[in-house]
Amino acid sequence: MLKMGGDFLQLILDTIDENLIVKFKGELDHHSSEASREKIDEWYYDKLKKNIVFDLRELNFMDSSGIGLLMARYKMCSENGGKVLIVNDNQNIQRILRMSGILKIIDVYSSIDDALQNSIGE
């Protein structure tokens, strides 16, 4: 497991089978997304993972930079035959996800277990 981050955002990375689990705590904006996306991709490729589960439940802020990060990872996973799944129950985060249109291509689950069950198959 990897924990990193400054005052604004903590990034916690873990792996379960062919899934990379990315947990964010704090604020995901342009500044904090720059540093985290490199680390996410490094783990994804180095550890030969297929899917990414983003746990957004402990984010207290996200703007369109977060949407950009999710969309680019969606593209990356699709090219690799995998998918992106989101775990979220936070209403403010849900609003920006909804307005961005990203929910048309990425499904949201209420727990990591729930997401992992849906990451297998197809």
Partner: protein, 146 residues
């Protein structure tokens, strides 16, 4: 309450200041007794405008971003200015999903977010001079005591 109030902030165009800017404006707006949702709207809209100034206005170089906020009655007006490159085709720049910097993983949603989360948005820009974003929002729950 309900009186006119004004503030002005000036800070370096650095991505670390995106968080500072939205928190400062949210703190100023808190005197309008906003709901959690309204405060989240303000923070997000300010974050988008400041991020635009940092990435597009000054292209991550040096510069000053100015924010002015005016409270009048139950309404806040927020003006975010940069003296950077400016936008040559504002209409295209404001289209949802349009980004001039796809390599930076920008979603192209900045102006759409500002439009959706605020009640009004007005953008003026001049190439070589900079960009001014004016946004306003009414706080429905706030009573001016009249």
């Amino acid at each position: 309450m309900g009186e006119r109030n004004y503030m002005k902030l000036e800070f370096s165009s650095k991505s670390t200041n995106e968080s500072f800017a939205r928190v400062a404006v949210a703190a100023f707006a808190s005197q309008l007794d906003p709901t959690i949702e309204e405060i989240s709207d303000i923070k997000t809209a300010v974050s988008e405008a400041v991020t635009n100034a940092v990435i597009h206005g000054y292209e991550n170089g040096e510069g000053i971003v100015t924010i002015e906020a005016i409270i009048e009655g139950n309404e806040i007006q927020i003006i975010i200015k940069d003296s950077g490159r400016g936008i040559h085709d504002l209409k295209t720049a404001m289209e949802p999903f349009y980004t001039s910097k796809p390599e930076l993983e920008r979603s192209g949603m900045g102006f759409t977010v500002m439009e959706t989360f605020m009640d009004g948005l007005e953008v003026t820009s001049e190439v070589g001079k900079g960009t001014v974003v004016k946004m306003n929002k009414k706080f429905e729950s706030f009573s001016t005591g009249e």
